[in-house]
Amino acid sequence: MSILVIAEHNNSELNPATLKTLSAAQAIGGDIDVLVAGDGCQAVAEEASKIGGVNKVLCASNAAYGHFLAENLGTLVAELGKGYSHILAPATTTGKNFMPRVAALLDVAQVSDIIAVESADTFKRPIYAGNAIATVQSEDAIKVITVRATAFDAVSAEGGSASVETVDAAHASDKSEFVGEELAQSERPELTAARVVISGGRGMQNGENFHLLEKVADKLGAAVGASRAAVDAGFVPNDYQVGQTGKIVAPELYIAVGISGAIQHLAGMKDSKVIVAINKDEEAPIFQVADYGLVADLFEVLPQLDQSL
């Protein structure tokens, strides 16, 4: 067995989801190579070479890969991946974007968003917004897999001394072009990696009121998330959305404020270790998954919480 793990990074540092994907690769077993594709990403390749258990790092640094466009990355990974039994990437928006292209180019199926490795060809994955867990077996010669990072522990970022090999292939599609991006700037921890997450829903009433959450978040070193309703209403940007079709989080502590607990929201947070729900409606479904429920008006509770921390 030989596994190619596609590193997620921003051309200057590795995203922790990569370490968790490597953990899934180790559970499959076999030689593990890591591909770092980007632009000016040599430092990331160095970082990857120090991860314990990595056999070899492939570094493809080219302007074509700078923004991780699926057309270019998909072609590169399909070409490099041919000799492997498994190709793994984190199920982030980047992984979700290019990996199915890799699978189609290799004429194999993709197994999306795995949460457990049963054996080298058998995996568990959530379906129907996490209301069922399927065990699936792939007969494909090359298994193309995206990994739900929250379901795996990170491997150690140290202890390895893999060689770094340069890949020259430049696949630059003339059909797709990066125009620009608006990336959220925040001093707070990243949502999917935070130890504590506090999320607001429609009950927050407007974007201004999210300051009440942010105050508490700052005291707890927490990331701030939101329900779809809060994003749709424009209270906060799209990258705050937690849920079936947003981000999946599994922090030590998740605090849901003014969120009713629709199945699509629960799908993104119900694997959190401890869940707190603050809602004025005692019938709200969120209380069915909460370890600690507080039936109260959030506008009274949040300032008190801020005071008492």
Partner: protein
């Protein structure tokens, strides 16, 4: 310009599915079915392009058993002009769906193909990207804004870090995210009108595609249930419990 929209019939998003006792699958008997919400957004976007005079024709395609025609009629009631049903009782996986869609694309030669980003049953999030690879077309996935020009389309994408904009040469593929638009409701006259819109049926054979599955489902289980915890009386009790009982703060 012709726009092709791929739509899937799925369980209604309000329904909480149950796993069958024999763990072979989820129980879909007598469950309310609907147009996949992301496909509804795809249809709406295509219809708006037509209303703006950018698209001349909106064609919907769906792959599956006869029953999918119900959701195709819904799409036509929302404004699609005609439908192509690729009939199969096998359950094609995303790769097979993408191959069948490629066959339809070759026949119809659309300039823009819109799909949902994800079917809410399988939660795969694969088909649009696979179709892109098979046809050699560029893709704008998880779209929250689509601007069509004469030869290009600009797509603003919802990504983990925020928003990214790409410019694609037509023909191109777009997959929809939640913020792209708010789908309209079909009016009664439009529902009646949709019944008379043309709907052609093809088979996988007509498209030269063999539907096979290489990923087998061995078992479907219910997830570990969380038990509801306790209600606390006030903030003081909450903080005390988080500190001393759960030890998370």
């Amino acid at each position: 310009m012709k726009v092709l929209v791929a739509v899937k019939r799925v369980i209604d998003y309000n329904v909480k599915v149950r796993v069958k006792a024999d763990q072979s699958d989820v129980d879909l008997a007598n469950v309310k079915m609907a147009l996949n919400p992301f496909c509804e957004i795809a249809v709406e976007e295509a219809v708006r392009l037509k209303e703006k005079g950018i698209a001349e024709e909106v064609v919907v395609v769906s792959i599956g058993p006869k029953a999918v025609q119900e959701q195709m009629r819904t799409a036509m009631a929302l404004g699609a002009d005609r439908g192509i049903h690729v009939e199969t009782d096998d359950l094609p996986d995303s790769l097979a769906v993408a191959k069948l869609l490629k066959g339809v694309v070759e026949k119809e030669q659309p300039q823009l193909i819109i799909l949902g980003k994800q079917a809410i049953d399988s939660d795969n999030n694969q088909t649009g990207q696979m179709l892109g690879a098979l046809t050699g077309m560029p893709q704008g996935t998880f779209a929250s804004k689509v601007d069509v020009d004469s030869n290009t389309v600009s797509v603003t994408r919802e990504v983990d870090g925020g928003l990214q904009t790409v410019k694609l040469q037509l023909p191109a593929i777009v997959t929809t995210d939640l913020r792209l638009n708010e789908p309209r409701y079909a009016s009664l006259p439009n529902i009646m009108k949709a019944k008379r819109k043309p709907l052609d049926t093809l088979t996988p054979d007509d498209l030269g595609v063999a539907v096979k599955r290489t990923v087998k489902v061995l078992k479907v289980e219910a997830p570990a249930e969380r038990s509801a915890g306790v209600k606390v009386a006030d903030v003081a009790e909450l903080v005390e419990k988080l500190k001393n009982e759960a030890k998370v703060i």
